[in-house]
């Protein structure tokens, strides 16, 4: 088992699957199973959704639109624009509807991290 396989696993097999969910914080798209097994590869630290169906339900959503795959995050403008350049390689949503739960928002706040909803409502 190598790196590629690991990442390949993270690419959802079925693009049409209704079950796919996007993380409200980092917009990564995974199956709920993947979220449950390994959590969010980017922001597990904050949202802690691993093994918790409840957390997965509140911190991820099926309501997303547009998918982005970033091959070379460092040089990709798309990744930069989507603010996913520093994240792990994977499949991301262009737009995710909804906001993270308030406790997560508070947590981000306490760390001095600005929360940016992924629903493109804030334009600056």
């Amino acid at each position: 088992m190598n790196n590629s396989n690991l990442e390949l696993d993270r690419v959802p097999a079925n693009a049409r699957s209704k079950a796919l969910r996007a993380c409200l914080l980092c917009s990564i798209i995974q199956t709920p199973q993947e979220f449950r097994r390994n959590g969010c590869p980017n922001c597990e630290e904050i949202i802690q959704i691993k093994s918790s169906t409840e957390r997965i339900a509140s911190c991820t959503t099926t309501y997303f639109e547009g998918i982005v795959t970033v091959v070379d995050a460092e040089h990709s403008w798309v990744a930069r624009w989507q603010r996913i350049a520093k994240y792990t390689r994977g499949v991301y949503a262009v737009r995710v509807k909804g906001r993270i739960p308030e406790d997560v928002e508070a947590e981000l706040d306490s760390r001095g991290i600005k929360y940016r909803p992924r629903d493109q409502t804030e334009q600056d």
Partner: protein, 1120 residues
């Protein structure tokens, strides 16, 4: 090894490693230092982790393999999880988590190490440790050399793949989006066409492919790829060059690189990622519709929304089955369920009523908690059901709640009369829609916000901001920018408005009151008050419905509803009609419920005084009601449908018995000079002309195709033979011989099957849905004339036409083709004609030259212009014939004039003829009305008739159906008259009779009067009569062209040319004149198939008899 295992395994090593490295160091501090360490962790963590990893690798080999037994492994796993949670949770530093997990010694050490690490690394990093690390580092490097690439990759992944998972910084979140705009240094975006619906898969495939070939010599060079749902059929790939894109997508199924890989301009890059659907924000109070299930289509109001916006709590009117099947009510949920779900009918919407429900379902099925009832797992509050739905199961756009629906919501359950509808609720719902209907120039008013009350004209709209030019008082002329949602269209009483959408669409009317955004107006059509939202209105000048036509039926058509019932359409709605049937009942019918359009143009009846009633007569009732109106239709000579604009009821249409009608006009004028009662009796009318049609009017099938044996030549039923049982428009119902089945089939797919098995195209002249023009033409075209032709001919000669012409045996001999065969072979062009005539008259040259040069053109253009017109006979009947209705009265008065005119004509033509030798008198026949005009004609001009300068469709000709011609296969020999074969659609120009090429034979041309009845020309008395042309002269512009016609019944009078149509040959050996096409002007004999649209002819003459074909409607029968 599975994924999970590896993941855990990794951490386990990590734990072990930490024990190794820091064992024994400052263990005792662990408890106290925990909080401090935790705070320092944020900084130190990453580095520390790397270090750990290095060591971990080193130890991998020697330690892992054997030493850990299963038990320890699992124990560590559990511990590790707990630890991670502990470490990450911000809140956990205030909690005594250790208490839960610190059973094992190891664990405690572990925790301790963890806490101390940060401390040590940030503060005291002693030399020993450094040295230790350096050694390890070197060792690691050595080892790394030996590792396989896979191993390296794995290590990297472990190191970097998990990195972010441990630390979320969100460091990019501070950067404003605008600073992220693409620059020229960034790679470009390329648009790639893909199969619609496969965009996501392809983007994912690209990702997989990229990972797959990452460590091969040829990795994908693309940087990213994405897809948007709103841009179907394309994906966007970020790469430095199109070539790299092409390489990346090469081999992927569903990608169409051949359709171009297009560069996205840099300024459009960001917008591609910013596209968002018109935001479907759902807020409590929003109206939505339920997409599926028992409540599909029902309106619901949003009560609450879950945090992530996926589930929406709705309040709506339940549909409780109050008549469950007996067994279901008795017991068990199991059966109940099946009873509910498989129910074919969904229960009606009804507010939840506790008493009703327990009566039917029993008390135990309903429980009550506080104010809420629970029934079948659903909660009911105030009669409404409250239920959670997925957002995707709701329709958020175009909800358009109607007033009725919203009234239901605002109604109180206890049935107390609800006060005024809370229009603000609807206003809210419709507000969003209102934005999109604003247009510059609209009068709007501001109804909320600081500027409330201001009104003005919309200047500009950009997205959600409208700029208005304020009106009134101090703001006059100022431009104000406002959010679109806070303005609404403004109407004031007296405005004339039109409804744009909704069930009242296209209604127009005068505004009588305005209350907030609900405008009430009085409809122009129904004279009723209609209330609509102002957003659905616009100011409009026009009156009435924009369209009176739905399907093939239009306002005031007489339609057959069922075998016994006919009715008149008096109102057209969006997709239905209001029909008044002959019994006076109003029905709402859909177009498909109408079996056919009936034609009563030819129908006649007698009124109370025994006078004839015709369509369009103004009549009044003689019984109590005394209503007056114009006759729209007569049905079975018994019912008359009348229309009077002044009556509001049923759009002014009413039905009465013909026997109770009397003419509004004074009696005298309607009594005809030939007031023969027998004329009014259809049965007694000799089968001539239009009377045939009217005689059969209203007696069932009138399509002569009915009863034909036909074969189906197209479609799935091809090859079947059957009998036409019924027709409606172009659709025939055919009873098949096999299987005794009735099928409905397009007439185009049918061919008449002769007894000998040959197939002949149905002469489908009357394809157009209103069969109105149909019957009468049929009757002329076929039998009656065949019979009368010979016997009546002498009658035609009784007239004042100089006999020599009519009977001149030499006339045909003169035929240009016989004398000058060559020019005609060339195609009968005008110059040729000129040459053959050999009468280069100075007059003609001088005065008429322009006319001559125009000859070819008017026809060309005439044909073109008429085509459009007569493909839609309906349009013709209204547009084209409107004028003659008025002129007809004038014509009545001119009859004496025509007498003198014809006399004069005859004398003058005699002279002309005498001098002219070869010149042809017929042309000199003057038209009665402009009798002053024809001077040039008399002065010996052989061709006084200038060609049609104003080509118009002859009224009668509009009855032809093109399709019958177009469907005819090109006959053999068609090559030599290409123009006809290629353009079978062309029609006779309106002034076909005046064509100079026809002039030599004009006086023998047999014409029929057609279309007069509809326009009431000469009272329609002459409809269907045939006769020979006596003469015609070009009239001055602005006058209607008239022609002297010597009718077969001996009468001779002038008739508007537009009502004259050529009589087409219907049997062999008839002498005909070609009046259009290549052979124009040629006299010929019908040789073959006179009943088909292509007729085989031979030229007449002594030498060089030619055989050719011509389109039948280009032929006119000549009197001998």
């Amino acid at each position: 090894m599975s994924d999970t295992e590896e993941h855990d395994y990794q951490h386990e090593e990590y734990d072990a490693n930490m024990q190794e490295g820091y064992d024994g160091e400052q263990q005792e501090q662990e408890a106290e230092d925990e909080p401090v360490a935790d705070s320092g962790k944020a900084k130190g963590q990453r580095r520390e982790y790397y270090d750990d990893e290095e060591e971990e690798e080193e130890e991998e080999e020697d330690e892992d393999d054997g030493e850990d037994d299963e038990e320890e492994l699992s124990g560590k796993k559990a511990k590790k999880r707990a630890k991670h949670r502990h470490k990450r949770s911000a809140a956990s530093r205030f909690l005594d988590i250790e208490a839960e997990v610190s059973d094992e010694d190891e664990e405690e050490e572990d925790e301790g190490d963890y806490g101390d690490e940060g401390f040590i690394e940030s503060d005291v990093e002693d030399d020993a440790t450094r040295r230790h690390h350096a050694i390890l580092n070197a060792k690691r490097l050595d080892e790394e050399e030996d590792k396989s690439p896979e191993q390296i990759a794995k290590d990297l992944s472990r190191r970097y793949g998990g990195r972010a998972a441990l630390h979320y910084t969100g460091d990019m979140n501070e950067i404003p989006q605008r600073l992220l705009m693409p620059s020229v240094h960034d790679a470009s975006l390329w648009q790639v066409r893909v199969k619609a619906g496969r965009e996501r898969d392809i983007v994912l495939s690209l990702m997989r492919k990229a990972i797959d070939v990452e460590f091969t010599p040829k990795p994908l060079q693309i940087l990213a790829a994405f897809q948007r749902d709103s841009l179907p059929g394309m994906i966007y790939v970020e790469a430095r060059s199109a070539k790299q894109v092409a390489q990346a997508v090469n081999g992927l199924v569903g990608v169409y690189p051949s359709r171009g890989i297009q560069l996205v301009p840099i300024e459009e890059m960001a917008s591609l990622l910013q596209i968002k659907k018109q935001d479907q924000t759902v807020t409590p109070g929003t109206w939505v519709r339920i997409r599926r299930g028992k409540y599909s289509g029902d309106l619901a109001q949003v009560v609450d929304i879950t945090e992530n916006g996926e589930d929406v709590g709705l309040r709506f009117i339940p549909r409780i089955d109050l008549t469950p099947r007996d067994d279901t009510a008795v017991d068990g949920k199991k059966r109940k369920k099946t009873g509910l779900t498989t129910g074919t009918m969904r229960p009606p919407q009804r507010l939840f009523n506790y008493e009703e429900v327990i009566k039917v379902w029993g008390r135990k099925h309903v429980s009550k908690r506080n104010q809420v009832y629970v029934f079948q797992n659903d909660t009911y509050r105030d009669g409404f059901i409250e239920k959670d739905f997925k957002l995707s199961a709701l329709i958020l756009e175009d909800v358009n709640p109607t007033l009725d629906e919203i009234q239901q919501f605002s109604r109180k359950q206890d049935g107390e009369a609800d006060t005024l509808v809370d229009l603000s609720v609807i206003a809210e719902a419709s507000r969003k829609a209102a934005i999109s209907v604003l247009q510059p120039g609209d009068h709007v008013e501001v109804f909320e916000g600081e500027q409330a009350g201001v009104h003005g004209v919309v200047e500009e709209i950009s997205q959600d901001v409208v700029t208005i030019n304020a009106e009134g008082l101090d703001l006059e002329g100022q431009k104000i920018e406002l959010p679109a949602r806070s303005v609404r269209k403004r109407f004031k009483p007296g405005d004339h408005v039109k409804v744009m959408t909704g069930q009242n669409a296209d209604e127009t009317g005068l505004v009588v009151s305005v209350a907030d955004n609900v405008v009430t107006f009085i409809s122009d059509m129904s004279m009723q008050e209609i209330s609509v939202f102002s957003k659905d209105l616009r100011e409009a000048a026009e009156v009435g419905s924009s369209t009176n036509i739905v399907g093939n039926y239009e306002l005031h058509d007489l339609v057959q509803l069922d075998a016994q019932t006919v009715g008149v359409i008096f109102k057209t709605e969006r997709d239905s009609f209001r029909v008044l049937d002959q019994h006076g009942q109003v029905r709402l019918v859909q177009p498909h419920q109408i079996s056919m359009n009936r034609n009563s143009n030819k129908a006649i009846a007698t009124d109370s005084e025994g006078h004839e009633i015709r369509i369009n007569d103004n009549m009044k009732e003689i019984n109590s009601e005394n209503r007056k109106g114009r006759v729209l239709h007569i049905y079975q000579s018994f019912y008359a449908f009348l229309h009077n604009r002044e009556y509001q009821e049923n759009g002014g249409v009413f039905v009465t018995r013909t026997r109770s009608l009397a003419s509004v006009a004074p009696k005298g004028s309607i009594v005809k000079p030939t007031g023969d009662l027998s004329k009014m009796n259809p049965a007694m009318i000799p089968p001539t002309g239009g009377m045939v049609g009217s005689g059969t009017m209203g007696r069932g099938p009138r399509d002569r195709h009915i009863g034909f044996t036909v074969a189906i030549v197209k479609g799935p039923m091809k090859g079947y033979v059957g009998t036409i049982k019924d027709t409606n428009g172009n659709i025939a119902r055919v009873e098949l011989r096999t299987g005794n089945k009735l099928v409905t089939i397009d007439k185009d797919k049918l061919r008449e099957r002769k007894p000998d098995g040959t197939l002949v195209p149905l002469e489908n002249r009357f394809k157009a849905p209103p069969p109105r023009p149909g019957m009468s033409w049929n009757s002329h075209a076929t039998n009656p004339y065949a019979a009368q032709d010979g016997s009546r001919t002498p009658l035609g000669m009784v007239g004042k036409t100089p006999n020599p012409y009519a009977s001149d045996a030499k006339t045909p001999a003169w035929n240009a083709s016989s004398r000058t065969p060559n020019p005609y072979a060339d195609g009968g062009k005008t110059p040729a004609w000129n040459a053959s005539s050999r009468t280069p008259n100075p007059d003609l040259d001088g005065g008429r030259t322009p006319a001559w040069t125009r000859t070819p053109n008017p026809y060309a253009s005439g044909a073109g212009s008429t085509n459009g017109g007569w493909q839609t006979p309906r349009a013709n009947t209204t547009a084209g014939w409107a004028t003659p209705g008025r002129t007809s009265s004038g014509w009545g008065g001119t009859s004496p004039a025509h007498d003198s005119g014809s006399a004069w004509g005859s004398s003058s033509t005699a002279g002309t003829w005498g001098s002219g030798g070869d010149s042809w008198g017929p042309a000199s026949a003057p038209t009665p009305a402009p009798a002053q005009a024809p001077t040039p004609a008399v002065t010996g001009t052989p061709y006084p008739s200038t060609p049609a300068a104003y080509p118009r469709t002859p009224a009668g000709v509009s009855r032809y159906d093109i399709s019958s011609y177009s469907s005819v296969a090109t006959p053999a020999g068609g090559a030599f008259y290409n123009d006809e074969a290629d353009s079978p659609m062309d029609d006779l120009p309106e002034q076909w009779l005046l064509d100079p090429e026809l002039a030599p034979h004009m006086k023998r041309i047999k014409v029929e009067v057609q279309g007069t009845r509809h326009m009431n020309y000469l009272n329609g008395d002459y409809e269907g009569k045939v006769g020979r042309v006596d003469g015609a002269a070009q009239v001055a512009a602005g006058y209607e062209q008239t022609v002297m016609v010597e009718l077969e019944d001996g009468e001779s009078r002038s008739i508007l040319l537009r009502y004259l149509v050529p009589v087409q040959p219907d049997k062999e050996n008839q002498e005909v004149l070609v009046i259009d096409g290549n052979y124009k002007g040629v006299v010929a004999i019908v040789r073959e198939s006179p009943e088909l649209s292509k007729v085989v002819l031979t030229t007449k003459g002594d030498e060089q008899i030619k055989v050719f074909e011509a389109v039948r409607h280009h032929l006119v029968v000549l009197y001998s």
